[in-house]
């Protein structure tokens, strides 16, 4: 059973790592970042392949074993041709002595990791959305594949709840079931532990580019102990995977703005595409990214041709799903169409941010420090743009709830808090950026 989980992670991490190393080797160092990005890219690649095989070509899943084998062998050959046998060297990191406080913080984060693993082991799938959708679809695919594509069968995919929802999360679970030869109600939770660990690695890896190790570990610890994050770390919902993809796209966009390295933009698009393959609500963030890109383009000498070319890999990845949606007339809507006016949601949002204990006092920290460093944010172009991106996306979410029938999920307390998870990794990264040393030597720092 555990071999299955190991095999699952390897089947995702190896292709993901090969893609990253062969085409997006943006940094020579940073094992943590690479593992996180590999998990995201690998999951995207694998589920896209399953989608093409099973949904489009209607071929048996066993073909994926061959495809994966060919991919891995081809990737390794390409790797050896390009880098030779410096595999070990590329993983080596500089060893620095860690202080007792860093050791203690690392220990606390490790305790959180142990905690979510035990919960994952103790809590088989029972929650509504998993039973109705995220795990249910994977189970149908595994146990009744013929019925899944038969319009006369009860299990026909279009007869199911939210048939217009994307497939990344159910297909990940389906793949684990294929490897395990049965759908295991407990094992699927570990896919989500994988996303939790990936966000931790991602935040630590990228925060380390800007702030010291102690502060990076502290922010990662804050993230890993937020009550709702801990809950979703072992829960078979799509919210944490979506938060991972959106958070990664956000951080990579900042890296692109900061370093002008075009590969970061290509990667950012890829992660946004993956977010669209995870949940429809990612469209809000895609629109926010596009708007910010318009601002970023101004004065940067960046041509449309280059921007479109950078989006090409992401468009290739998302094309089969969008085509499928178009052919089957699937909607982006979660509820019926029609506009409304529900200003009461603003109070609900404020309550979910500042009064619920889902986040401890995180939003006080984030908004407080943002106000404290407002001058630095305005002065620094990259920072200004990513803060703009964050607030645009938040505005988009608010518009969705205030003006559409989605408001009902905020009123009944089932969705709004979960939607806020999408903003947490990016807000942790932004807060870390605000604590860069240069901001504390500035004369214009608030209060100095």
């Amino acid at each position: 059973m555990w071999l299955t989980v190991i095999l699952y992670f390897l089947s995702i991490l190896i292709p993901g790592w090969l893609i990253l190393t062969l085409w997006f080797d943006t940094e020579s160092r940073g094992g943590f970042k690479k593992i996180a990005l590999s998990y995201g890219l690998g999951t995207m690649l694998l589920t896209t392949e399953i989608f093409l095989l099973v949904f489009v070509l209607r071929l048996p899943i066993k073909w994926l074993h061959y495809i994966l084998g060919v991919e891995i062998v081809l990737g390794i050959l390409l790797y050896l041709r390009r880098f030779g046998f410096d595999f070990i060297k590329r993983f080596k990191t500089e060893k620095k002595k860690i202080s007792w406080i860093e050791g203690f913080l690392a220990f606390l984060i490790f305790c959180q990791f142990v905690l979510v693993n035990i919960f994952a082991w103790l809590k088989p799938v029972i929650n509504w959305d998993s039973v109705a959708m995220w795990s249910f679809k994977a189970k149908i695919l595994f146990y009744n594949l013929s019925g899944f594509f038969n319009p006369n069968n009860q299990d026909f995919w279009q007869n199911q709840n939210q048939s217009g929802y994307p497939w990344l999360v159910p297909l990940s679970q389906y793949w684990l079931a294929v490897l395990n030869k049965s759908f295991d109600e407990v094992l699927v939770n570990f896919i989500f532990v994988g996303f939790f660990v990936s966000i931790i690695f991602l935040l630590y890896g990228y925060l380390r580019n800007y702030i010291n190790r102690t502060s990076s570990l502290l922010f990662v610890w804050l993230f890993s102990t937020m009550p709702l994050i801990v809950t979703h770390a072992h829960n078979a919902y799509a919210d944490l995977p979506l938060a991972f993809y959106l958070g990664t796209a956000f951080i990579l966009t900042y890296k692109w703005l900061d370093t002008k390295n075009h590969k970061y933009l290509i990667l950012s698009w890829l992660f946004l595409a993956s977010a669209l393959l995870t949940k429809n609500e990612a469209i809000i963030f895609v629109i926010a990214h596009l708007l910010i890109l318009l601002f970023a383009k101004r004065g940067s000498g960046l041509g449309w041709k280059k921007i479109l070319l950078s989006a090409l890999p992401a468009l290739i990845i998302i094309a089969p799903w969008l085509g499928f949606k178009l052919v089957n007339k699937l909607s982006m809507n979660n509820v019926g169409g029609g506009l409304g006016w529900h200003p009461e949601i603003i109070g609900q949002l404020l309550s979910d941010l500042f009064a619920a204990a889902s986040w401890n006092v995180w939003w006080y920290i984030f908004f407080g420090l943002s106000l404290l460093f407002i001058r630095q944010i305005i002065k620094d172009r990259s920072l200004r743009l990513v803060f703009g991106l964050w607030f645009l996306a938040m505005g988009g979410l608010l518009i969705l709830y205030v003006f559409t029938e989605e408001y009902q999920f905020a009123v009944d307390g089932t969705a709004l808090s979960r939607n806020l998870i999408n903003f947490v990794p990016s807000s942790v990264f932004l807060t870390g950026l605000l604590l860069r040393r240069e901001f504390f030597t500035s004369n214009k720092f608030f209060g100095d």
């Binding site: 035990i118 029972i126 509504w128 039973v131 189970k139 204990a357």
Partner: protein, 213 residues
């Protein structure tokens, strides 16, 4: 000081804090953090020499940690005590773990046993109904979904017309069998006679397993 409401079926939002008067504890802590920052900057701007030497970033972070600790300690100790309470489940089967979760959710959502009794019902069905049979589930919304979710692996869950076994579960389910073993009335349809049925098991009036004859 805190109250944890968790493990419901329809929502997994985490609510932990009690309130101080009309304010939630989180609001108190959040405003407390701002107050501490304000005091620090106020004294720092007055030019007190000792405070000038202090690393501003470190003070901001230390104050964050101090305010973070109460909810962290509460939430972490609640989580670990839950684990210690359920330590015997580490080696239990998935069904037992599932039953434990469902019973907690049942209690938290005040479902009066509806969720808690599902696993024993599933076990009963698996004993009485041969694997691979065509079954129909007649049940309330969540229970129906959950039972279908659990039966996919072993049975062909189908329509009333095609099913050989009828599985009734839930308080909003109504049926009537006459003296000739004929099923006359079932929740949600107008058809009066569904044919003759053998009663495989009546666990209670809300949980019945029938076989079409």
């Amino acid at each position: 000081m805190f109250l944890e409401t968790m493990e419901k079926l329809n929502s997994i939002n985490k609510t932990l804090a009690l309130s101080f008067g009309s304010l939630s504890t989180i609001v108190i802590f959040g405003l407390g953090l701002y107050f501490l920052w304000f005091i620090f900057f106020m004294y720092k701007s007055r030019g007190i020499p000792e405070l000038k030497k202090i690393n501003t970033k470190m003070v901001l972070l230390v104050l964050i940690v101090i305010v973070w600790l109460p909810v962290f300690i509460e939430s972490t100790s609640a989580n670990w005590s839950k684990i210690f309470k359920e330590v015997e489940l580490v080696t239990a089967t998935t069904e037992i773990k599932s039953e434990n979760r469902l019973c907690i959710a049942d209690k938290n959502s005040n479902l009066k046993g509806g969720a808690c009794l599902m696993e024993p019902y599933i076990k009963e069905v698996k004993t009485l109904v041969p694997i691979g049979s065509k079954v129909v589930i007649i049940s309330d919304a969540y229970y129906g979904l959950f039972l279908k979710y659990r039966f996919i692996a072993d049975y062909q869950v189908t329509s009333r017309e095609l099913a050989d076994y009828w599985l009734f579960y839930g308080s909003r389910v109504a049926y009537q069998i006459d003296s000739n073993s004929e099923l006359l009335e079932v929740t949600g349809d107008s058809k009066k006679n569904w044919g003759r049925f053998e009663v495989l098991k009546i666990i209670d009036q809300n949980r019945v397993i029938l076989k079409k004859m």
